[in-house]
Symmetry: C2
């Protein structure tokens, strides 16, 4: 009977994330992808067909296994506390690396419709999750009743992207952590 594949698909997809984060899509060459994943060329093309479809799989995996862990805070629906936890973990997640989704949007969004779709979906999800948290926060009296929830959610979504870009530049995490507090502090109703 045939030998069984030794590689673990999830592990490979996770390893590839770092390669794409470091060099971008076009900058990440197959030689490095192969070398830094527990993979071999033949298996790669049997499994994925091309570098492009591989990227799509990596992006899906990135959302489902990495970003989800961070976003789940927003979906636990504990109001303002959830938002705080999300940002703390997000800063940790992107520090020194950035966000693969944001990077893919800015590098490939113009040419690659699929990347555009994935990106739109991700930003929509963020926006909706923030709205959920803010509604909960309002019902808990954590934020002013006259807060415009939709536009606040939009602000928060923008922060997330701002962090993703800044994280590439800022080696230090402190700066981003301070920024988080500066951004979220004013939301709380006792600050008004």
């Amino acid at each position: 009977m045939p030998r069984k594949a030794q590689y673990n698909l999830d592990a490979i997809l996770s390893q590839a994330i770092d390669v794409f984060l470091e060099h971008g899509y076009h900058g990440a060459i197959m030689d490095e992808i192969i070398a830094r994943t527990e993979f071999n060329r033949r298996g790669f093309y049997l499994e994925f067909g091309s570098k492009q479809t591989f990227l799509y799989m990596v992006l899906e995996h990135y959302q489902n296994h990495h970003l989800s862990k961070v976003i789940k805070h927003l979906e636990s629906n504990q109001g303002l506390e959830s938002i705080n936890q999300f940002f703390n973990q997000y800063v940790e997640h992107v520090k020194g690396k950035g966000c693969l989704l944001i990077n893919s949007i800015t590098e490939l969004g113009f040419d690659d419709q699929k990347v555009r779709e994935i990106g739109r979906h991700y930003l929509d999800r963020l926006q909706i999750d923030f709205i959920g948290c803010l509604e909960k926060a309002m019902s808990l009296g954590q934020i002013h009743t006259n807060t415009n929830i939709e536009s606040t959610a939009l602000q928060l979504t923008s922060y997330v992207q701002g962090f993703a870009v800044n994280a590439v530049l800022a080696g230090e995490t402190d700066e981003l952590q301070l920024a988080t507090q500066a951004l979220l502090g004013p939301l709380q109703s006792n600050n008004h």
Copy 2:
């Protein structure tokens, strides 16, 4: 006497911006850069030496001749009105294209120190200009005296990056314009 060069350097740098915006740095191939600029290969390498140093020149040009026109609103120091004008023009500037600086940071920031420097410089400038506007706005009584200027400037800087990313995805400009109003409205003191 020798013939004079026919190409206009500024025009070429401006034309190249679009190519890099559409395909990113590695995705923009020399053939297209040559074809879409009033240029020829020999002149290109005589003038710039390499694609990489060409990018640096394009980034400088992008800042000095394109972004500056938008940022100058912030440097005219009219308080809140300047911020409004800036965002309106910025949205117009990035719509459907994104921002070359942000794109370069996310694609090349990890590998290219010079791009990192240029990016940091740009974000610092934004932050400082916002602080200037906010201080003026406070002295004019346009915003609450207990507004934390530094953290508000940080928020605005984040918005800018959020817009740059969104602009790649959003074909419509309306969405971004509405977002601007949603973001800036709450700043005004009469909304508190």
